[in-house]
């Protein structure tokens, strides 16, 4: 059986740890919404790039200017696909951040609950010891 002094010492240490806990910073909901919006925009841009690629094939003319037209369309499609990949990549980065932040918040809550329970238990022990 521990003495009251030992319990008191352990209680102070636990309270100090509890006070030193900091909640992870970051707008989790906002990040989730941003990821969703980025995925949606990437999807839209991908569809638009596909549609732009279809235009070139659907236009029927032969003659000077055709090659230039095709080159311009493929350049536009390339730029749109590039933008699509950038948006996808940004969505993935945000997703990683969401996962990381979710883990940190979960860990914080678990630690907070553990320390709170420990402090309550030590207080009870101290009361009994006295």
């Amino acid at each position: 059986m521990s003495s009251a002094a030992e319990i008191s010492h352990a209680l102070v240490a636990a309270q100090r740890r509890l006070g030193g806990l900091t909640e992870p910073k970051g707008d989790l909901e906002g990040l989730k919404a941003l990821e969703l919006a980025l995925r949606s925009e990437a999807d839209t841009v991908g569809t638009e790039a596909g549609s732009a690629a279809v235009i070139s094939g659907s236009v029927g003319f032969v003659g000077p200017g055709r090659n230039m037209f095709d080159a311009q369309v493929s350049s536009v499609v390339g730029a749109m696909r590039n933008a699509h990949h950038q948006l996808e990549s940004a969505a993935r980065r945000v997703n990683q951040e969401v996962t990381k932040l979710t883990g940190e918040i979960k860990e914080y809550k678990r630690e907070h609950a553990r320390l709170t329970s420990q402090v309550a238990s030590l207080r009870m022990q101290l009361k009994n010891a006295r």
Partner: protein, 383 residues
């Protein structure tokens, strides 16, 4: 000098022009939505840069698509004109039309010829004359061919003028028989002419640009350049429809030209507006107190500005940001659906054909989100 075969499929070019214009608008919308996405606290630092870069690329693509749409439309119009003027096609300025286009067909709407297309009646007249005894007999007679070409062009000009008058005379519930194309034509004319009336200088520049360019003089000598100018002037004089087309093109070009400087000066404008607002608020809300030194006044003002900034940033809560993002998500989904519907109507394809074409295009290099994943996200957004 190109003497190769020249072929035009006018309906497909017009459909392509419409699709390009629609896509240009849709892509511009995407660029606007992407650049307006709020960056919440805790977002990776490189995301903002990636969004800006993507938005800039999309803006460029939007401008390029609109310009290609205009070019296609112009080429389609020139093809119809070339078909109408027959042997005088060589007078047209673009080298593209040096040879008489073959495979030019009247735009078809639901299986019937579109009589409201520019020069449609003159085209029919030209075909009729070619098939008639007189036409066959004078196939190798230059004077007769000149007369036929002149006459057909004259009819075409009168026809365009008549259509413009009919379309312009059609008000809401007007006397002309109900026809969506006349309504559309009327709106085109009105928009173009309004713009031309407001911007006479730009209109004149664009009209001059639509005549033979300086390049034509450089490439082919002064005679051909003068001939092209003369023909275009004649056509412009009679063809009210062409004035509207030029006005529309110039208006679109004007919008494009205005976009670039506004981007460059937006920061300056914003700074000026902010400075003006700051001056106004500091003058009204924070007059200098009696006995207060300049340094004390500045410090007080800075503290006030910091307070305001903090209050403003707190006001924009995560909930508000999420709501805005959800709104944008809904807008983006709606834009995509509208785009697909528009493309379907433009290209006269069934939904299955559109989906097949999109799938083919996507399969080449675009890796889009799997449908299941997208559906899951939509469910989450709905919740």
């Amino acid at each position: 000098m190109t003497t190769g075969k020249v072929e035009f499929d006018v309906p497909s070019m017009q459909a392509g022009a419409r699709s390009a214009a629609t896509l240009g608008k849709a892509v511009s919308g995407s660029a606007r939505r992407v650049s307006g996405l709020p960056i919440p606290e805790g977002a990776p630092p490189d995301v903002a840069g990636a969004l800006q870069s993507a938005s800039s690329k999309l803006n460029g693509a939007s401008l390029a698509l609109s310009s290609q749409g205009r070019w296609l439309n112009t080429q389609a119009q020139l093809a119809l004109l070339a078909d109408a003027i027959g042997p005088f096609v060589f007078l047209l300025t673009p080298p593209l039309l040096r040879a008489r286009p073959v495979a030019v067909r009247l735009p078809v709407t639901k299986g019937k010829p579109d009589l409201w297309a520019p020069g449609a009646l003159a085209d029919a007249l030209s075909t009729y004359i070619d098939k008639s005894k007189f036409g066959k007999a004078s196939a190798h007679n230059p004077a007769n061919q000149f007369s036929i070409g002149f006459g057909v062009k004259f009819v075409s000009s009168l026809e365009d003028l008549g259509k413009a008058v009919i379309a312009l005379g059609r008000g809401p519930g007007g006397p002309i028989v109900k026809n969506d194309q006349t309504v559309r034509l009327r709106q085109d004319y009105i928009d173009g002419l309004k713009w031309a009336a407001k911007h006479p200088g730009d209109f004149a520049k664009s009209a001059a640009g639509s005549f033979a360019s300086a390049d034509e003089y450089k490439k082919h000598g002064i005679n051909r350049g003068l001939g092209a100018n003369g023909f275009d002037a004649f056509s412009m004089f009679f063809g009210l429809g062409e004035i509207a087309t030029v006005a529309k093109t110039a208006r679109a070009a004007g919008k494009t030209a205005k976009l670039a400087p506004s981007h460059q000066t937006s920061r300056t404008v914003a700074n000026t507006a902010r400075a003006q607002a700051d001056n106004a608020s500091s003058a009204v809300l924070h007059p200098k107190r009696p006995g207060e030194t300049d340094a004390e006044f500045r410090l007080r003002e800075e503290a006030h500005a910091a307070d305001q900034a903090t209050t403003k940033s707190r006001a924009e809560t995560a909930e508000a940001i999420e709501q805005r993002l959800k709104d944008r998500l809904a807008e983006s989904t709606r834009a995509r659906n509208e785009l697909i519907a528009k493309l379907q109507s433009d290209l006269h394809k069934t939904p299955a054909e559109i989906r097949l074409a999109l799938a083919k295009a996507a399969a080449t290099s675009v890796v889009t989100e799997p449908p299941k994943h997208a559906a899951q996200h939509r469910k989450e957004a709905h919740r």
